[in-house]
Amino acid sequence: MTLLRPGDLVVLAAGLLLVSGLAVFSWGGSHGDSAVIRVAGQVVDTPTLARTRMISVEGPLGMTQIEIQPGRARIARDPSPRQLCVKRGWLSQAGDAALCLPNQVSLEIRGRSAAYDTLGY
């Protein structure tokens, strides 16, 4: 009587396949190709994530700076007291978003296929 039988290896391999399939399905989200910048709910700019540039927008508290690089974007500078949207770091997956609520600025990444139809904040 052996501990590991032929069928066990098949089951283990199938399990491994399932796990990697789930990983691709859950984490391999589509990369975004453009960003949506909103101030007080209004879209002010939709830059493509093609080349490096800085975008500055004015909110109630002051200037928020958004940095665009090929394939990713981030809030580089924001007057919000807790800096949560700055700490969010680089965003690259479609559907990712950084919200600077005190300054009413939001940065959202859009892909060819949106992960969500709409997001309510």
């Binding site: 501990l3 590991l4 039988r5 069928g7 283990l12 399990g15 796990v19």
Partner: protein, 183 residues
Amino acid sequence: MTRSVIELPVSAADRRIAGLAAVAVGLTLAEAAIPSPVPGVKPGLANIVILLVMLQYGWKTAAWVAALRVLAGSLLLGSFLSPGFWLSTAGAVSSLIVLATAQHLPRQWFGAVSLSVLAAFGHIAGQLALAWLWLLPTAALLNLLPVFAAAALLFGAVNGFIVARLLAADASPKGQSAPCIPL
């Protein structure tokens, strides 16, 4: 006033189920003390007992032991009727359903490791289905799906290996009649 004595006849099978369930509950309690990085990711040591019981005494006994394990374990941990209790129940029920089907796989090809891995996947599938339908109907749970599945594969394989070892020790000629569970 007359005193009436209610006597419940206890069969040998009842005693066996109670004893096996006590072992499973003990492992559940021991496991509750192990810290876990992600809530819900646990080795599932009690499933070793459930699988051993099924292979030695049949599915029905295993179902009894699993039910008593969830009930008594939750009473002792103070989680009876809490969300955690229902998640345990969902996991136990779905893994038992999987085992009811998987036990008919040809034994010479599929050993304890297969059954354990399949049951572990069934367990996590049941738990996640309930959690998703009832507690967290958001995409956040979906992101953790690979983590739970990987844990199920790993712990299912390890537990299955332990069961296979215990069964092999049991079947070895010079060993005692039942070294795995002293009952």
